[in-house]
Structures are given as structure tokens and as C-alpha cells.
Amino acid sequence: MVGFLTTIFNWAQGILGLPATSLADALPWWDILWAFIYFVGAVILLIINVIMLIWIERRAAGFFQERVGPNRVGPLGLLQTVNDTIKLLGKEWIMPAAADKLIYLIAPLLIVTISVTMYGLLPYGPGITPVTLNVGILFFLAISSVNTLSVLMAGWGSNNKYSLLGGMRTVAQIISYEIPMALSIIGIVMITGSLDLGTIASSQAHVWNVFIQPVAFVIFVISALAELTKSPFDMTEAEQEFVAGYHTEYSGIRFTLFFMGEYANLFSMSALGVVLFFGGANGPFLPPWVWFIGKTYVFILFMLWIRWTFLRIRVDKMMKFNWKVLIPISLANLLLTGVGIKIWQAATGAIKW
């Protein structure tokens, strides 16, 4: 626990540009107090991030659709989400009488907890990684698939046919698309030789992975969209079929939590894409964390562009596409990568025949 707090502390120090160990040498309780303050700061950062994301999504959607999006509350409509959140918090909590109470209540909490955990793993720059794990990417994928559980819990717990169908679809979808996603990431891991997100990011100082692994990148984008259940893979909350999918029966703060979790996941998944394919926090002139956030937002805009253009695919076709197209291609890509690495090593004399 103390180790975790210390890393948070170091991360915050990195962001603030303070010299390392300037305060850590002071009293130990002082250390813990500061860590706590920084932790609260990080959560606030997450909330601001979500608010920004929702604003960006709505503005961008408006621009694609010949309208301007929210523009009334605050400058450029920036406070619209704050307004909506306050409205949502004031709504009545309605719980279906026949709901499975415990599962119904835990599901929205779980989804936010997972999102916060994923935030902690991202390398925002050298020295400002909250938690450095040498199996970072493995842990990231493992944690993100727990999302499935919370969606299934919500779908089952609500005791509603639409919710259940939505939840079932999500499980099928996320679990299957995790495979091509993992396979596309393995190519990168093979090239880098590390599972640590920070190492992967810093290894791309010269050339981004997107140029080395373009096929993996396409597969990653497709499966990331599926993981995030964004269009064209938004079966889980297909309002035309399932009203609102797994969160049909949620209202008020619980609905807000689902909403927050969804956008927080959008950010962390895009950040993962940036780390894997766009060199993470590397970049000239500006501080690394600015590069990191900037790249992530560009990546998010790219995903939104796809999202607001495409139509929803049919659920069985989506499965067929995954198992019959994406997975074979990613396996072939993996094979080629392996062969390529060996050829490269032979050419540069790293291995002797």
C-alpha cells in the first residue's frame, strides 16, 4: 500500500515538476497525507477528463452532422456536461422491484472502479507513471475485460428482457474481440521485447510502431471499437432494438456512473493505442504529458469520426467477422512479424547463423 502511494506521489511530483524526494524525506505521515491529496487530485483529473470527452464527443458529432452541438452553458458550451451531471444526480433512483438487488447495485460501482484502475497504469511520461508494472499490458487487458462482468451483472440484475439481451451480447462481443486485440498487441511486444507500457512507449523514440505494424494497428482500432462497444459495434445498447441495452433500468447517479465509466474507458483505450502505436509521450518541445494527452485526444477524435460515420453491424456478422477474418489476419500478421524480426536480427548481426 505504501509502495503504491509512493508511486502516486512520485507521479504527481513529476507532473508538478518538483525535484524528486524533495518532500518525501520529510515526516512519514506528511508523505501519506500528500499522497492522499494527490490521489484526490488524480480522481478530479479523471472527472474533468470525462467532462471534456463528453463535450468533445458532442461537439464533434454536431460538426459531422451540420450542427454545432452544445453551445449554451458556459463558454462554447463547455459546462453543458456539468449541467447534465447535476441534473442526473438530482434524478430519482428507480430500482425494479424484481431486480437482483446486490448485483444490480454493484455493477455501476465496478465499472468505475475498473476505469480508475486503468488510469493508474498509463505512462503519462517518463517518471509520471502512477503504477509501474513490468507486466503492465497484460494487467491492462486483464482488468479491462472485467468490464464485461459489470455489464453482464447490470443486464442480469435488472431483470429486464432488453437488458439481459444487451448484456449477453456484450459478453459475447467483448470476449471474442479481446483475442484479435491481444494478438495485435503481441506483435508489438515481440518487437519491443517488453510487457511494460513505459518501455514500449520509450522504445518508439525514432519510429512509431504504426509504421512498423500497420496491419496490427487496423486490427487494434477495430477491436478497440468493439471493446468500447462504440458504433459500428454498439450492439450492447442498440436503442433501436434494445431501448438502452444493459443500462435500460438504471437512473440517476447509477446511470451517471455507467456513462462515466464508458467515457473513461474511451480515454484509457485510446491512451493504450497511443502508447502502442504512436510513441506514447515522446515528442519534441512540449512536456511529455502534454504530448501524451494531445495524442490521445487526436486518437479519440479519430475513433469518433469512425463512430459517427458507420452503421451498426449485425450481431452474428460481427462474430463471423471476428472469428473468420480478424483472428486469421492477426495470426498471419504475428507470423510475419516473427519472421521479420528474425530477418532483421540476421541483417543487423544480432544473431549468428
Binding site: 464533434a60 460538426f63 459531422f64 451540420e66 450542427r67 453551445n71 469520426w305 469512425i306 460515420t309
Partner: protein
């Protein structure tokens, strides 16, 4: 090639992203409506002859014209009431009105939203100077309260209640 249509679609949405937007900032910028736009009604109580053709033409009984006869037997208007909640905005009343310019006509002001359902009524009352008021019983009618108008009309025995518009209003 499979996927070409998808790329084309991406191109279209990217193009539209940069094109001018059509959003109107409504309360600040009022829409520029054509002359004929059927927003709500304007009514001229001075040219109206209380002929009730409008209320007879109306398919929904929206219009109620209340009038009395003065001693020379001429119709004098008391109250003209429209229940816009039942109106179809078909224009049959305007078409039927015989005066020129039309006593009842459309105007482009379209903001009809209201909080209380009484406010959906449009009521025009006409009052006469005391010297012109013929019978003393007419005086309360001019104040415009429905009960008073009803009793005044009853007393003079000449109030025309032409349509089946529901009672209400203030």
C-alpha cells in the same frame, strides 16, 4: 474492393465536418418565416362584423363569437374567443371571413407554448364607452368576465353563442 464504401462514407463525413452549419441560435436569431406562415392569429375587433361565418366554417369549434344587438338592431361584438388548443391551423376561418382586410388572419408569430392550459385561449374583448352603451345591462359585459358576459347576454336575450367550444378561459 470490400471496404471501399466504408472509406467513401468516411470521406463524406469528413467533408461535412468542415462545411457550414445550419444551426439557428433561436431566441437571439428569429427564423425568417414566409409571409403565409401559419403561426398564430391576429384579430381586428374593429372591422369584425360579428357575422360568425368564421366560427361556422371551423371544423373543430375553436371560435366563439359573443355579441349583442344595439337598439337599432345592429350586431355589436362583446367577446371573440379562440381555443387554440383545438385549432388545426387549416385556415378555413380566414377563408370564410367576408371583411376586407380580413378581421381574422394568420400571423407568423409562432410561439404558442404556455404553462397553464388557460393560456392557450386567445380572447379579445371589446368595451364601449358608457355614453354609447345602450342598455345599462350591457355594462358588465364589457368587463370581459365570462359569467358577466353570459348574464348580460341572457338579459338582453340576444347573445349569439355559435360554436361548441368548451367553456373555460379567464
Amino acid at each position: 474492393m470490400y471496404g471501399l464504401g466504408l472509406l467513401k462514407g468516411l470521406g463524406v463525413s469528413l467533408k461535412r465536418f468542415w462545411m457550414p452549419k445550419i444551426t439557428q441560435k433561436y431566441p437571439e436569431v428569429q427564423p425568417d418565416l414566409p409571409q403565409r406562415s401559419k403561426g398564430s392569429f391576429k384579430y381586428d375587433k374593429d372591422t369584425c362584423t360579428s357575422c360568425e361565418l368564421c366560427s361556422m366554417a371551423c371544423p373543430n369549434g375553436v371560435i366563439k363569437v359573443e355579441w349583442h344587438k344595439d337598439e337599432s338592431g345592429k350586431k355589436r361584438l362583446d367577446r371573440y374567443r379562440m381555443n387554440l388548443g383545438h385549432c388545426l391551423f387549416c385556415g378555413l376561418c380566414v377563408e370564410a371571413c367576408p371583411t376586407t382586410p380580413k378581421s381574422i388572419d394568420f400571423k407568423t408569430d409562432f410561439a404558442l407554448g404556455c404553462w397553464r392550459k388557460e393560456d392557450i385561449y386567445r380572447i379579445w374583448t371589446k368595451s364601449y364607452p358608457a355614453a354609447e352603451a345602450v342598455a345599462p345591462v350591457m355594462a358588465p359585459a364589457a368587463t370581459g368576465s365570462p359569467a358577466a358576459a353570459g348574464s348580460a347576454g341572457g338579459a338582453s336575450g340576444s347573445t349569439g353563442v355559435a360554436s361548441g367550444a368548451p367553456e373555460g378561459g379567464n
